[in-house]
């Protein structure tokens, strides 16, 4: 059975601590380069701050983690890539980026309406000794290629291998949990199979509080957000959503 992996992120629980960003960087061998700015750095998972634009007691703020939305339909990055370096995996629904095939034209970054793609402006480098702690399941990306969230594909690999070793065809869902989901101290990020109606994440995605970003584009993201606050839910509407800003962790 083909899965449709996705997320439901409960924005009412997100405190903006940035643990997901750090976990993502550690899991996926993302270098922390001193010369990188908020605009040029690599943040496959990025916590942004949003506000309702009010003043004084009227003001409301919230945090929203932005990652690749894994669009199911009309996936913009796939359409523009001249290298066929991006594809939507039929078996998992994961939008897969192949940095080794990327020529660095950055069309996909322009096409992505969620700004969830990042360019390697520099050679990857780590403080001395830290390269020993790199994840062996994730290849380091070279300078000049685009990268993004692959839903911690190394963990899916490990889960598949474990299942095969045990003589099973299907992975145990408990074995495949992305690093950000695992690291979130308030359990705001939920990960699961949206194609499985019994999966709690699939059920949460149908909640009246659930919404997706830029739904009018019909990209059908597999990353859902959830909030009881109407002003936060307004993020799903074109041009009327709350203002968003980058947050540095």
């Amino acid at each position: 059975m083909s899965a449709r992996y996705g997320m439901v992120i409960d924005l009412d629980r997100c405190t903006g601590c940035g643990a997901c960003m750090l976990a993502c960087a550690a899991e996926n061998n993302v270098p922390s380069l001193p010369q990188a700015s908020a605009r040029t750095g690599l943040t496959p998972m990025l916590v942004r701050k949003i506000s309702n634009g009010g003043e004084g007691s009227e003001r409301r703020e919230a945090f929203i983690p932005i990652l690749c939305m894994h669009c199911e339909h009309e996936t913009p990055c796939v359409h523009v890539c001249p290298q066929q370096a991006v594809e939507v995996d039929k078996a998992t629904g994961i939008v897969m980026q192949m940095p080794q095939r990327c020529l660095g034209c950055r069309y996909c970054m322009t096409a992505c309406p969620y700004h969830a793609r990042y360019f390697n402006w520099w050679d990857p480098a780590w403080p001395k000794g830290m390269e020993k702690s790199l994840n062996p399941g994730v290849a380091v990306r070279m300078r000049g290629v685009v990268e993004k969230c692959n839903l911690c594909h190394a963990r899916l690999h490990a889960a598949k291998e474990k299942a095969a070793a045990a003589g099973k065809r299907e992975i145990d869902p408990a074995d495949y949990i992305p690093a950000c989901v695992e690291a979130c101290p308030t359990a705001a990020i939920h990960f699961g199979n949206l194609a499985d109606p019994r999966d709690p994440v699939s059920q949460q995605s149908h909640s009246p509080d659930a919404f997706r970003l830029l739904e009018h584009l019909d990209t059908q993201p597999k990353v859902y957000y959830k909030s009881k606050e109407p002003w936060v839910r307004a993020l799903s509407e074109p041009n009327s959503g709350p203002s968003m800003e980058a947050k540095h962790v």
């Binding site: 078996a91 998992t92 192949m98 290849a139 690999h157 490990a158 598949k160 095969a164 070793a165």
Partner: protein, 194 residues
């Protein structure tokens, strides 16, 4: 035969020799293995017939690849023979606690993800299907490394033209794809890349 066709024939021969003989020799540099290990000796003298006795799976399904010195020390904790190789293994590596720096012929580039568990346990492939018949080797093979890419020659294979490849010679992406296509198994890019 006219003079022109002689000149053409000579030029063609020189070009082919340069391409098929001189270039591969220049492209690959040879490195000796740290210990002259012979699969055949182990199979015949100590009765090891199953690859998995030394090349084992870990509990989580990951393939351990080449055995660590602990496995060798199961028999070679002290000198078994009088050969220079035996002395190197025991004195230089096992007794000093330093892992033997084997050169791995089938080491894939860092962006390749390959699961032995899926191929061996689930698909039922034999080791020799991809690796060739290592078990019969009666002399240690020379490890050749591509001077440009740093990859082992086994990845491209020993046939430069790749037209007369023996089974198990060559571990390029196209070799994986050939087998997958024959078996009708489709995986996306990240099915095998990481």
């Amino acid at each position: 035969m006219s003079r022109n066709s002689l000149v053409f024939g000579f030029g063609l021969a020189v070009a082919l020799l340069a391409g098929w003989v001189a270039f591969p020799r220049a492209l690959y540099s040879k490195r000796p293995q740290p210990v002259e290990f012979l699969h055949k000796t182990h199979a015949e003298k100590s009765g090891i017939t199953d690859c998995a006795q030394c090349h084992a799976f870990r509990d989580d399904g990951e393939f351990a690849g080449l055995p660590a010195n602990d496995t060798c020390a199961g028999c070679h904790s002290d000198h078994i023979g009088t050969t220079a190789t035996e002395a190197t293994l025991v004195d230089h590596y096992i007794k000093s606690g330093q892992e033997t720096p084997w050169l791995v012929y089938s080491r894939q580039p860092a962006n390749v993800w390959f699961s032995h568990a899926i191929h061996v346990r689930r698909a039922g492939l034999a080791c020799a299907d991809c690796h060739g018949s290592y078990g019969d080797s009666d002399q240690v093979r020379v490890y050749e490394v591509n001077r440009i890419s740093g990859y082992s020659r086994d990845i491209w294979g020993h046939s430069m033209s790749r037209l007369d490849r023996a089974a198990g010679d060559g571990m390029k992406m196209s070799d994986c794809e050939d087998c997958h296509r024959r078996r009708g198994i489709e995986v996306g890019c990240l099915g095998c890349h990481q």
